[in-house]
Symmetry: C2
Subunit: 551 residues, 2 copies
């Protein structure tokens, strides 16, 4: 009997070394707060009005929340919703909910009751943490929804509201939790951490699922893309209900920085906080940047870095930012890629160029984050378009900060990942230097004040009016909001209505930011197969032709 | 027949979303240079003497190297060795070798021929890239070794040597490669990327295997731990053959920074480069820091950050660094954890403390990197020691920057990962604030000028002398080198020898930095089972008792 060991080559030996508990752990952003609390226990983690929470206190509140949820049977794969502005409880949900293994579903606080009900039902929310400001809309939603989540009400000291559905009081709820609760990181970094509903091309929102690995990498990707050093002071002007605040709740924790909360974005309030706390970083749509740098209470020399996405920052805003000493980073992404995954990586030598040229360069979406593996523009044969600045193609991504998929929607997931790429639905060009610039939105999304509006959802609402035969909604440029929805309407034979009546009708079906700002009665151009053609409508809107003819 | 679909709960639906090519890519540091070359093609990537390589050129040279190696049949799981100082070819090897799927084995250029031969055989090197300065020792090694690697000779323009074994010329070799070679990232991020031999507790070095995931995370961990912003100018004073330069070849690439090469570390040369290129970051053992900050050509106000590991930086060195305006970061790690994985995270408020107190705080190894998941000190029952600053235990780690294992050494790998932790073999205490401080080295390693010396290896060499009956080698503190080896010797009955003769004997068997600096003839204390007791020897050395008695 031959008992000599099989000779092992180096090649085999390299592969023979297994993953063990010692050398392989699930990537998760949840360990960031444990580290921050252990290393900087007395540093301020959260500022909200006159409230101050140290990292130790903040961490303990997160773990108490996890413990209290677990005591109610919330665990791996359960959905916990949040209907909250940018207050401490919202940051706590970003850690405390997934610490139980559950999935955090932050809901846009501007949504209507019907959509909220749909989201609660589709995501099967077992609990919801809600600010009392939004109890009325939640109450309506719960009257519609099948889901009967445990309601946990936050009575924010900075803005108290009388509303209640007699749910649990958030402070009492977490007070009953145990800060020594032995929460466990996920066994598998592919486990879901968050659920973010996006207004897609269909009338109903789709549930984008994030996993721990992607959230970890997205949080770190922000650090590299936005050049954030240790201990940033981060002002919360970007809603955390958008793509988990672009992963910044975890970015700030990874750097043991300080969260500065803000319920509502207003110029003077922003500058008060910037001056009081030495804010170093903030994020938001260009309209927030515009509000900031044009506010009369602004001061220069703060060294503030503002990362903006959702639309290209206009030249006038960039000039005002320059004057205010605010450094702008233009980043780009979608809900499906954890918020930003692309950055307009700036070349210092371009600082010397004239302002219009700089603005044109800055308007480009740019190049992949370090944490996104591939980013390209493909033609209809899935070949990269030439880097000529003019050939359009579909903007695509591949990498670890691309979503896990859409919840309970295999067809949409497969379509989004068709032929091995995440297909953003955005159309763009690649410039000679490889920087990508968006040119149009294949998915017909209107971005208004940083909010996504599905034109189809607006059309669906308009179609509910008996006089409407054809409705086509397109984006119109708007100085304040970036884009606003305009509606083109053909009437049913023998029917009549007015712009005012249709706007009022839409308001009963839609969140107010989705209501068309103009309604124009005219024939909508169609293809030979009867499909509406929006391109000439958009062109007419852009060229201002409509202003010359009475609507 | 019931054809209604099985109802799917949210919990099941979260788990149902699979990894695909679009949303899951292997983590690898190799994409960093592709991004840097694409985004900053004209930025200087590498400076070496009068040579300048842009990111595009540097990237192309790396891919040419990969292409040329692949053309010789080098592929996944093959070992490619490097015997190189900190020159451009060494950085190129860090990318070009793993781009073929092969594993980079950097070899300490100070090793003796016998050890090099052992490493080439054990790692089964199929090729070796060697600087002509080290051809003589390689030639000796190849005469001993069974391995017959393809030899690729670098004839560095900054230091030419006449030696050759008629191998391939490196420049000609890569010139034949194709910069458009379609290299592929690994399919599996667990694939090996590097092999680093460490002098362990046994006479023969062990081959520590790194994987792509760990190298990616280690590179990013440095950014967070050392507070490195975009585009650092990094001076190569830390040998890249140590733990792949603590992963900094990839850190610099992730930030599209600039590598400044340096063949040999000397004070004036360092300051010349710092002044000429605006160096922002460098790394090294405390002795390098000491050389730097005490050099008469130093200038203040450079804003330089120096990350040091291998020993605690002494108070006098910290004071000199302060005076020179150099910020010191004390980090800690081992070959087994990709170099540093622990950082003395500094609290700004401690800047105000008196110098001795600051030095005492800075001497502590500290807390885990963000990219290391767990770090603790365990007692003999594997329970964390109390955070009292006095109870000693074994320093342990768990996380993604812990090695894959030791190549072809299952027993050592299992021992290193015993009971679910990587056991560093270092003994330490945990202070009240959770910071860990090393107190002794269970593995008996002597750290001399940043180099690890195994006392057992030195003892083995001494034992080869016919007059030596007992040899015990311990570390003696040394102002210049930190530690140096001293040998305690008992003679064979009837034999005789001298300190000079034993030192000369050791020199024939050991690299010169491992040769004992003193040889003391005296009885070595032993346990009842005959095991040598080094503790009283070390104590005698430390207390200077030996200086009072003639050796």
């Amino acid at each position: 009997m031959d008992i000599s060991p099989t000779p092992v080559t180096a090649r085999e030996a390299y592969d023979d070394l297994p993953r063990t508990g010692a050398n392989h752990r699930a990537l998760t952003p949840l360990l960031f707060i444990e580290r921050a609390a252990a290393v900087f226990p007395e540093r301020i983690a959260v500022i909200h009005g006159s409230q101050r929470l140290t990292w130790r206190q903040h961490r303990d509140r997160c773990v108490r929340l996890a413990s209290a949820l677990a005591a109610r049977g919330i665990g791996r794969g359960d959905t916990v919703a949040a209907l909250l502005p940018n207050i401490p409880a919202m940051i706590e949900c970003h850690n405390g909910v997934p610490m139980t293994g559950a999935v955090l579903n932050t809901i846009n606080i501007r949504l209507d009751a019907d959509t909220i009900a749909y989201i609660l039902d589709h995501g099967e929310a077992r609990a919801i943490v809600v600010d009392r400001e939004f109890i009325p809309v939640l109450q309506q939603a719960l009257a519609i929804a099948k889901a009967k989540p445990l309601v946990i009400e936050v009575n924010d000291s900075e803005a108290t509201f009388p509303h209640t559905v007699d749910g649990e009081d958030y402070e009492a709820f977490i007070a009953a939790g145990d800060p020594a609760f032995p929460w466990q990181p996920p066994q598998d970094e592919w486990d879901a951490i968050a659920l973010n509903y996006t207004s897609g091309t269909t009338g109903r929102p789709k549930g984008v699922v994030y996993h721990h690995r992607g959230a970890y990498l997205g949080a770190i990707g922000n650090i590299l893309a936005c050049g954030i050093g240790p201990a940033p002071i981060y002002l919360w002007t970007l809603p955390m209900f958008h793509c988990n605040g672009w992963c910044f709740p975890w970015t700030v924790a990874a750097l043991s920085g300080t969260h500065v909360c803000l319920r509502a974005v207003r110029g003077p309030a922003m500058w008060d906080l910037i001056k009081a706390h030495g804010v170093t970083h903030m994020c938001g749509a260009p309209i927030v940047l515009q509000t900031l740098v044009n506010d009369s209470s602004r001061v220069a020399g703060t060294g503030l870095v503002f990362s903006t996405a959702g639309a290209s920052p206009p030249e006038a805003v960039l000039a005002a930012a320059d004057a205010a000493g605010v450094t702008v980073r233009h980043i780009y992404g979608l809900t499906e890629c954890y918020g930003p995954s692309v950055v307009n990586e700036w070349h210092k030598e371009d600082d010397a160029k004239p302002a219009p040229e700089r603005a044109a360069l800055m308007a480009r979406q740019g190049v992949r984050y370090v944490t996104l593996e591939e980013f390209d523009v493909l033609d209809t044969n899935d070949q990269p378009v030439p880097a000529d600045g003019t050939t359009m193609g579909e903007v695509v991504m591949r990498g670890n900060t691309v979503m896990k998929g859409y919840l309970k929607d295999t067809a949409a997931t497969e379509k989004a990942f068709a032929r091995g790429w995440f297909r953003t639905g955005d159309l763009g060009v690649k410039h000679r230097d490889g920087y990508v610039q968006l040119k149009d939105r294949a998915k017909d999304i209107i971005i208004s004040g940083g909010e996504n509006i599905s034109s189809i959802e607006v059309e669906d609402a308009l179609y509910k009016h008996p006089a409407v035969a054809v409705a086509a909604v397109v984006a119109a440029p708007d100085e304040k909001w970036g884009e606003v929805p305009w509606a083109f309407i053909e009437l049913m034979p023998g029917e009549n209505t007015t712009e005012e009546e249709l706007v009022a009708h839409a308001r009963t079906h839609l969140a107010s930011f989705k209501v068309p700002k103009r309604v124009i009665f005219r024939e909508v151009p169609k293809t030979s197969t009867g499909k509406l053609q929006k391109v000439p409508l958009r062109q007419a809107v852009r060229e201002g032709l409509l202003d010359k003819s009475p609507s």
